[in-house]
């Protein structure tokens, strides 16, 4: 569509949303055993409050936040803690996790409430409640939400931006949440606005979800401080900096947080959960996960208890005989899973299963860079991936960081996506960054 607000560059991968965007959110039963890593968020791991052998009730806090940069953890089901042990996670290294044996017949009613009088809540009460809820960015970043609600004092935040872009192909969980839980989304947005002390909120939604724009707008009175704004459907529209540019025209300087330009960004799923949980004083124990892709027999949007093993979720959704590769998150930035025993964590928005013969799984050999410049035209950060790639090939990592802004790359994958030579640019950049990090640690 012409005239929609948007950012420069970016790519237009096929969306594949039609596989699941019409399917209402469905509840997934409990797996017999849940795996609950103590660290499902950026920051310090939480501290166990319960011992192996102890019985826990659904909704009960089982680990406490360790300081400000940490969040607590709640039991998603009634059952018994079998043990605490190192378990593999989707993000790589093994981490300490509760193994929770779910009691047979355990239901998914809420039994652990701590009702709040919303009208009386002050800003700092809301921040505390959000931390107590164990809330993290549900869009994938897993950054503790209450930290984002507390911008550094030198930054004057004037606008809350709600991120309803869901620009990753296949994923539709945020779309369904906006359609099915608009009241909770608006409730959560108002609570966070109060905590931040801002007068204005903008819900940015890609224009492939105009039904969601309508569903939310219909609930907002005229001249409401919350507005809904459609933005161009373009990847990576859902990246914070891109969305802020699109809806407000403000550019976050390199290396800065959105609060530097007076903005705080929250995922719509996070806001809807806050609107849902805070009035009852509940914690995050389940989330909506899109399970989709050509390798899935029953794609859908499932309300999944946190800690459910990926294998259990896949058994429920069914995989085709040609299923080949399981990706956690979206296909542009998600990672292929190393073992099916890893659990669904708070920030996991989707699971995409590709088939062996998927045309998207191009496994052609890489050619040398022909300097077509397509990556330069694709990079939303306006970097020069072509040059970075050539420097990476000759291991000139310092030059990449010092002269070509390597550290401003947020690994959206647009450059690798367009590269006609099949050069794994993003992978090169990840390697370069981690080598530089290690060198810095050694020094």
């Amino acid at each position: 569509m012409f005239g929609l607000s948007t950012f420069k560059h970016g790519v237009h991968p096929r969306e594949y949303k039609e596989l699941s965007n019409q399917l209402p959110i469905r509840r997934l039963p409990f797996a017999p055993t849940l795996v609950l890593p103590l660290s499902q968020h950026a920051g310090k791991p939480s501290v166990p409050l319960v011992q192996p052998g102890q019985e826990v009730v659904r909704g009960q806090p089982i680990a406490a936040a360790d300081g400000f940069m940490s969040v607590p953890l709640h039991a998603p089901a009634t059952g018994r803690i079998k043990r605490i042990e190192l378990m593999p996670t989707a993000r790589g290294p093994k981490t300490d996790s509760f193994i929770l044996e779910v009691y047979q017949g355990s239901n998914q009613q809420h039994s652990y409430d701590n009702p709040q009088d919303l009208a009386k809540l002050q800003g700092k009460d809301i921040v505390q409640l959000v931390q107590d809820a164990g809330m993290v960015g549900l869009g994938g970043a897993a950054f503790p939400t209450h930290v984002k609600m507390t911008p550094p004092p030198e930054h004057q935040v004037d606008t809350l931006v709600a991120n309803g872009c869901e620009c990753e192909p296949y994923l539709t969980c945020d779309h369904r949440i906006m359609l099915e839980q608009p009241e909770q989304l608006i409730q959560g947005t108002r609570l966070i606005m109060r905590a931040l002390g801002v007068e204005r909120a903008i819900i940015g939604i890609e224009d492939n979800k105009l039904d969601a724009v309508k569903a939310i707008s219909e609930l907002l009175p005229a001249h409401d401080p919350i507005t809904v704004q459609a933005v161009e459907t373009k990847y990576p529209q859902g990246a914070e900096k891109m969305l802020i540019k699109s809806v407000l025209g403000r550019s976050v300087p390199p290396g800065s947080f959105p609060s530097a330009v007076g903005v705080s960004v929250f995922n719509v799923g996070t806001l809807a959960q806050i609107g849902e949980l805070l009035p009852h004083g509940r914690g995050v124990i389940e989330r909506v996960v899109t399970v989709s892709g050509p390798g899935v027999e029953h794609p859908g949007n499932y309300l999944v208890p946190v800690g459910t093993p990926v294998r259990f979720l896949l058994e429920h959704a069914g995989v085709t005989s040609g299923a080949h590769e399981v990706i956690l998150g979206g296909p542009m930035m998600g990672m292929s899973v190393s073992a099916l025993d890893v659990p669904v964590t708070k920030a996991m928005s989707g699971m995409v299963v590709l088939e062996q013969n998927d045309p998207d799984l191009h496994k052609q050999q890489a050619h040398p860079c022909i300097r077509c410049g397509w990556c330069v035209e694709a990079c939303p950060m306006q970097l020069n991936p072509s040059m970075l790639g050539m420097l990476a090939a000759s291991s000139d990592y310092d030059e990449m960081a010092n002269d070509y802004h390597l550290n401003d790359c947020f690994e959206c994958g647009s450059c690798s996506y367009v590269c006609p030579s099949n050069i794994p640019l993003v992978q090169y950049f990840r390697i370069a960054k981690s080598v530089l990090r290690e060198r810095a640690e050694v020094a």
Binding site: K8, V11, P13, R14, P169, K241, K245, S251, V252, P253, P254, G295, L314, V319, S321, G322, H324, E325, I327, P331, M332, M333, G334, M335, S336, S338, A339, L340, L354, D360, L361, H362, H367, P368, I370, R371, C372, G373, V376, E377, P380, M381, Q382, L383, N384, S386, M387, Y404, D408, G413, S414, S416, Y417, V418, P420, N422, P424, V426, Q427, R430
Partner: protein, 348 residues
Amino acid sequence: MAEGGLTTDLRSSPHLKQATTVEDIMRNVVYALLPVCAWAIYAFGLSVLLLLVTTTLVCIASEALFCRLANRPSTIGDWSIVITGLLLALTLPPGFPLWMAAVAAFVAVGLGKALFGGLGYNVMNPALVGRAFVQAAFPVAITTWTPPFLPGRFSELIPSTLTLPFTKPEPVVDWIEQNRIDAFTGATPLALQKFEQITTPVADLLTGTIAGSAGETSALIILLGGIYLAARKMLDWRIPVGVLLGAVLVSLPMWLLDAGRYPDPLFVLLSGGLMLGAVFMASDMVGSPVTPSGVWIYALFIGALTVIIRLFGGLTEGVMYAILLGNVISPLISRVTQPRIFGEEGKR
């Protein structure tokens, strides 16, 4: 590890890939060149057909040879070498001796491409490197022109075509007279303009009913190929536009100063190899900058330099040297025109 058909192959993101590959780009450039080749054969006859076949086959064979010598997997399948072969023939005079064309093709691949490490690593456009070599080595043959649309062009060859290797080509003057072409001076529109101030009509330049290198004569067909590639996003439209704009920016003031001596800008655009160079050679991805502002600087430079060589140099045509020089300074242009990154626009 496999689990009921499911593997846990670890691949890094992104897991999606757009479909266009290097081969697709190169193959489409070949498609866009085919009408230009067809017109060249139609206008100049069998000699041009042989010229195209010779350069292309020698290019492919040389590529295979150099890949083997360098112990690299053969890259003759990526179509880029076919482009080099076709482009090279299209820049040569129609009656250019085949053995010289073979030398040009071998040099194009060896000196222009393989020496630097193959596709993607070459500094200059390989076809033009080959062309520049024979321009220096065979100055007479490379400026021996024959008229288009000779009646016998499909039944006999231009006499110089089959010159024996390492011998001088037979002069074509007598042969042209035998064919009783009146008033053909053996001059291209550029030479006519430069030395005799005779301007060839625009319609002739567009349709290619003129003398010149095999593939440069019809500006219209070249433009159509360029539009096809630009529409498929396989050609950066800014480059041909910039080259042509650069040519106008230099030629317009000169023409306004002295219209009797200097050609009008439209003539400048449509004559000689400028159109072929702008659409198919300056736009070669490998030799052009990747940065948005760099692309414009590079293109304007080539266009302007072409006209400067034409108007003030000893040569009638300057597009080849302008593009080669543009190729050489392209990495430098890229370096000094790094894009301002997100969040720093407008800052110095």
